[in-house]
Structures are given as C-alpha cells and as structure tokens.
C-alpha cells in the first residue's frame, strides 16, 4: 500500500462521509475560517517538528511508497496527512456542535 492509498482510505473517505452528512451545513465561512487559522499554525509547526525528527533519525518513509516529492525531508503526503487530519477533526467537532444544538432544538420542541 502506498502513502497516497492510505490517505484516500483513512482520511479522504471519512472526510467525504462526514461532508455528505453535513452537506449544506458546511457552507459556513466561520467554520472554514477557524479551520484555516488552525492550519496556519498546524502545518508550519508539523513541518518543523517532523523535519527535526527525520534529521535525528527517529522515523522515515519507504521511498517506493511515496510520490518522491519532498519539501525539506518530508514527503508531500505527510503535509497532506496533517492537512486532512486537521480538517477531519474540525469537521467532527463542528458536527458534534451542530448535533448538540439540534438536540437542544428537539428538546425545546417537546417542552412547548
């Protein structure tokens, strides 16, 4: 299995599922702005940290299972992993928020 296949299977697929679940609720600029702000912190921090770990020899990737494109010593797929992981986590948190709000709505209707 390549790193790209891993990304499709474990990140893009669940992201697609959560997106389908949320549909128009994702048309929320506040959600995307928050996610973008987080990505601005996560991506450079991850790159610095990951690069340091590779230089120190803590971990590495099998070259045949990556695209071969590297920024610093990190494969492009690793950046995509950080990006997609962040979006998936924020989307799940956003879905949980909506779900709890809907719960409040439903209970409000029962009460009245």
């Amino acid at each position: 299995m390549t790193y790209a296949c891993f990304l499709v299977l474990f990140l893009l697929l669940p992201l697609a599922l959560v997106s389908l679940m949320l549909r128009r609720r994702l048309l929320n600029w506040r959600y995307w702005l928050t996610t973008a702000q987080l990505l601005l912190v996560v991506l450079p921090t991850m790159a610095l940290w990951d690069h340091a770990a590779v230089v120190l020899g803590v971990w590495g990737w099998t070259p045949q299972q990556t695209w071969g494109v590297r920024l610093w010593l990190i494969p492009l797929e690793e950046y995509l992993f950080a990006l997609l992981e962040t979006v998936l986590l924020t989307m799940l948190m956003y879905a949980l928020l909506l779900w709890t709000r809907e719960g409040a709505h439903a209970l409000g209707r029962k009460r009245t």
Binding site: L92, Y94, L96, G103, G108
Partner: protein, 150 residues
C-alpha cells in the same frame, strides 16, 4: 542511543496544549463534555490506521529512539502523538470558533431563557436544511439536556 528521544519530541505538543489551557482554560473546561470524545475517538481511529501503515512499511521507526513499549505494532509514543495532536486541533477549534451566545468577555450566556430564545429564533421561518446550515454562529451554550442533567 537515546530511547527517550521520540518522547522528548512529544514535549513540543505538550507545550502547545499547556499554552492552550493557559489562555482558554475556562472555555475548555466548560466544553469538557464535548471535545474529549472527539479526541478519544480520533486517537483510537488514527492508532488503528497507524498499525496498518506500519505493517505495510509506509513509515517506520528507529527502535533505538523508542522506549520499547507498544500496543500491537504501534509504539506508545505514536499513540501519545495521536492523542496530543488530536487534542491540539480540537482544543484549538473550541478556542477559536466564534460563539453567538458568548458575551464580549468570553462568558457564555447562562440565562436559560435567553439561550432558548436564540435557538427558537434560529428555527423560525427556516426549512430544516436552512436552519441547519449556518445562518448565524453555532451556540456553544449547553444543550437543554445537559442543563437539565445538572
């Protein structure tokens, strides 16, 4: 060889988490019934995915830099990595995402009636899709169920 090197590297994320709690502990504590579930679920999910990636040799670790404890084929440092990064992102989201029912001082609207009014107003005159799409910020106020449980 330093068997604690990966653990030491994880301290960078611990520092960020500490900073988040230092800045927004009130908001994080208030939301303690929500975000930990996402962190827990995501950590388990990514650890399982990691087990597959390691078995497929997509990435690998130098054993000399690990303490040697693992769950299956996943080193404990890697499990910690997923917990810490998931917590960092989710807590960051909780801290940044704007909330309508919070005042300028960041305090939530505790008034039950006011919080309900916000919900009801959002509901009026909108189809379910429109209501659920964000026409206004999402409320961080506790759900009626949570309020009733207290």
């Amino acid at each position: 060889m330093n068997h604690y090197l990966y653990l030491e590297l994880l301290l960078a994320w611990v520092l960020i988490l500490a900073l988040q709690w230092l800045v927004g502990w009130k908001k994080l504590w208030r939301q303690r019934r929500r975000w930990p579930w996402i962190v827990l679920g995501a950590s388990i999910y990514f650890s399982l995915a990691d087990a597959l990636a390691l078995s497929q040799h997509i990435w690998f670790f130098h054993p000399a830099f690990l303490i040697g404890w693992s769950v299956g084929n996943v080193p404990v440092e890697e499990l910690l990595f997923f917990v810490l990064t998931a917590a960092m992102v989710v807590q960051g989201f909780v801290l940044i995402f704007p909330s309508e029912t919070e005042g300028g001082d960041g305090q939530p609207v505790r008034d039950k009636e006011k919080a309900d009014q916000v919900h009801i107003q959002g509901e009026q005159g909108a189809s379910s899709q429109e209501r659920l799409s964000d026409r206004g910020p999402i409320s961080w106020a506790e759900s009626a169920e949570e309020r009733r449980a207290r």
